[in-house]
């Protein structure tokens, strides 16, 4: 058998295996995350289970939840999934099998280090890890390795683009590979802030090489990356929504040009917006906050284009399946297909997530909701559902695709998707309601000495909704594990790939000049951030505090 395989086939097969392990590592993070999520939900219902789980505090569980979900699950899934889409788009393996392996190795080592520090309660700093709260060095090293694993994937994509161009002179970059690359390019530019924060400022300080750090500076560097990180979570989901969902509903993607433009807009606008997380910070000029607010409104635009294009593609599919009317075609969508159902519900949640995001972005309104429960209410609709439920939906075809095993029970999987959706609507409504009434985030809301009466009903909604989400998450693992436990069927499960109505012949060639777009992105970031760093009053005086 092996003798019949070419080197290319062998490379493809090995790279697929490592990509699969990235996905498994991501799902492991997700599994850990939902258990911690259940503990938080139970706490709101008056049942404190932290002792039973050998955890020191609510905050240790919350740190584990945040790191497992927002960093491990998202990073490794993006690594694995977009390596696979890049390969499929170019029709060739990645340029370097070693880098595919290396990306997995770095991610695994990063998870092991960060998790060990958190589990022994030496890194209860939440996933935002603001200095001068100080974790054990090993936590920061783990976080660095996780970021490095994504940089290795970016490097591999660039090398693969170069190799592919040499093989296909003068051709357009295949759309699927283009969007996969742009996702990582955006992140490559955006992650520089957090990399500098950790490597230049936090690590030397946590090793004791320097005595003091500057809390406002490290916080600003964190949010330099901390907002665009949400697009790094989101864009792999967009890759699926644009490139796969139209095919899964029997429709076509409207236009190649629009998709390329949308991903370029994310590269340009994702980063110069970070100050909208710091509207209520002292020490930052109010005018600069408004500049970042304007950029934040602008980055809403490509998401609205996405909403139009994806809904258009779904209508096209439903009408080709015999759907009619202005809205009646919705009934003709494949409501028994779990991969589709999970992702379309993820999109519905994202509409609410986007609207609440605009609330957060509006300076004076932000003063009502900043650091209240409203914020986790918002981001459980975005990363917690638009992304997480989409990744579950992708898994429903991806696991069969990677293993050759048939999905166990599409029916259970459809129920799972609906449960998550109904769960998060209840959960986020609870958090948002409590937040508007002034409940702070990041607190064990079930046992607060200063709780207001108006929070109790909302805490109940949050607790019940969160529990329903946990049950849904367990059903997801039942489906995936029973699929993995089944026998290989001999069938081939293809990656769904959309056709476009208007192909790349209508797309201006300048859209493919990725180097140029990176330069424009850097210029925009400079406009937004150079004045921030010039105005900053530098003082590296804060010693570390490990108050956990």
């Amino acid at each position: 058998m092996t003798a019949l395989m070419t080197d290319t086939d062998l490379a493809t097969a090995e790279q697929r295996t490592w990509a699969k392990w990235q996905i498994y590592l991501g799902l492991f993070g997700f599994g850990l995350g939902i258990v911690m999520g259940l503990l938080q939900a139970m706490e709101r219902l008056g049942l404190d289970l932290y002792d039973e789980f050998q955890l020191q505090s609510y905050y240790q569980g919350l740190t584990l939840h945040g790191v497992a979900m927002a960093i491990v699950f998202t990073f490794t899934f993006a690594n694995g999934f977009l390596i696979l889409t890049s390969m499929r788009g170019y029709g060739r393996p990645m340029a370097s099998t070693g880098l595919v392996r290396g990306s997995f190795g770095l991610a695994l080592a990063g998870v092991a280090l960060a998790a060990s520090a958190i589990l022994v309660n030496q890194a209860t700093v939440l996933y935002t890890f603001y200095p001068p709260l100080q974790a054990a060095s090993v936590f920061y090293i783990g976080a660095t390795l996780l970021i490095l694993s994504t940089w290795v994937t970016l490097l591999n994509q660039l090398l693969t683009l170069k190799a592919w161009k040499a093989e296909h002179p003068g051709e357009r970059i295949p759309l699927l590979s283009f969007v996969s690359l742009l996702t990582f390019l955006m992140w490559g530019v955006a992650s520089v802030g957090m990399a500098v924060e950790v490597v230049v400022f936090i690590l030397p300080w946590s090793f004791g090489w320097v005595q003091g750090t500057d809390p406002l500076l490290t916080r600003t560097l964190f949010w330099f990356t901390g907002h665009p990180i949400v697009y790094f979570w989101l864009l792999p989901a967009y890759v699926s929504w644009y490139m796969m969902i139209p095919k899964q509903v029997g429709g076509r993607l409207f236009s190649d040009r629009v998709v390329r433009a949308v991903f370029i807009l994310f590269l340009l606008l994702s980063t110069p917006v970070g100050l909208h997380h710091q509207f209520t910070d002292p020490g930052i000029d109010e005018g600069l906050k408004f500049l970042h607010m304007a950029f934040t409104f602008a980055v809403f635009f490509p998401s609205m284009v996405t909403a139009f294009t994806i809904i258009g593609a779904m209508e096209d599919g439903a009408k080709r399946r015999g759907g009619t009317g202005i809205l009646r075609w919705i009934g003709k969508l494949p409501w028994r297909e779990p991969s589709f159902v999970a992702q379309v519900l993820a999109m519905c949640a994202f509409a609410l997530g986007g609207a609440s995001g605009l609330v957060n972005a509006s300076g004076p309104v932000n003063q009502v909701v900043h650091n209240t429960s409203f914020i986790p209410g918002h981001f459980h609709l975005t990363v917690g559902t638009a992304v997480a439920l989409t990744f579950m939906g992708i898994s429903y075809w991806l696991i069969p695709h990677l293993t050759g095993k048939k999905l166990w029970s599409a029916k259970v999987a459809v129920v799972q998707a609906w449960l998550w959706f109904l769960g998060v609507l209840t959960f986020s409504r609870g958090l948002m309601g409590a937040g508007i009434e002034g409940q702070p985030r990041r607190v064990p809301a079930g046992s607060l000495a200063y709780a207001l009466d108006s929070w109790h009903l909302y805490d109940l909604m949050t607790g019940i909704g969160g529990t329903v989400m946990f049950v849904s998450g367990v059903l997801f693992f039942v489906v995936i594990l029973r699929t993995l436990a089944s026998k290989v069927t001999g069938e081939v499960y293809e990656m769904p790939l959309s056709e476009t109505m208007h192909g790349d012949e209508g797309s201006p060639a300048i859209l493919d000049r990725v180097g140029l777009w990176v330069i424009v992105a850097v210029v925009l970031i400079a406009i937004a951030y150079v004045p921030v760093f010039l105005n900053h009053a530098y003082q590296f005086k804060s010693p570390g505090f490990s108050l956990f």
């Binding site: 906050k289 609205m304 650091n371 108050l547």
Partner: protein
């Protein structure tokens, strides 16, 4: 093609909505004076106790119905942890931290600000009605975070 017409309409509509929202925010700043915290003073976070005005935290009258509250946040309380003012007072808070990042949130008021070591947070609010308002730390600051709260007593 029809879709292109719809798409163009949708994109223009989105742009208009965003511009109107942004204009509304600018008006709230210009007309209603809803400002965000901005650059104020800095100080040495390791010498808070020796740096005026934080060497003497407390509430000081500064004019008719006007007070200044000088507060130091630390794990896990404010100093002073209770503030008493008459109804109708406009209180300007000056807050800093002597250890990690804290927050200052007074539910159902416009007071919602970060308190960062080395920086001075300045926020103002007029307490019109008598009552008690919890003063809550809303940034994770260690194991005792949920117990970090004080209160503002507004006397009738």
């Amino acid at each position: 093609m029809k879709i292109e017409k719809y798409e163009r309409f949708f994109l223009y509509a989105t742009a208009v909505v965003l511009v109107v929202f942004f204009g509304a925010i600018l008006m709230s700043v210009g007309e209603a004076g809803l400002h965000l915290p901005t650059q104020d003073a800095v100080l040495d976070p390791t010498a808070v106790g020796e740096t005026p005005p934080f060497d003497n935290p407390g509430v000081y009258p500064t004019g008719p119905d006007e007070y200044t509250a000088v507060m130091v946040a630390q794990a896990w309380s404010y100093s002073p942890n209770e503030i008493t003012v008459p109804a109708g007072s406009e209180v300007t808070f000056y807050v800093t931290s002597r250890d990690v990042i804290h927050g200052l949130l007074i539910p159902n008021t416009t007071i919602n600000a970060m308190v960062i070591p080395g920086q001075v947070t300045k926020v103002t609010y007029r307490f019109e009605d008598a009552g008690e308002f919890p003063m809550v730390c809303h940034e994770f600051c260690g194991i005792g975070h949920a117990g970090m709260y004080g209160k503002v007593v507004v006397e009738g």
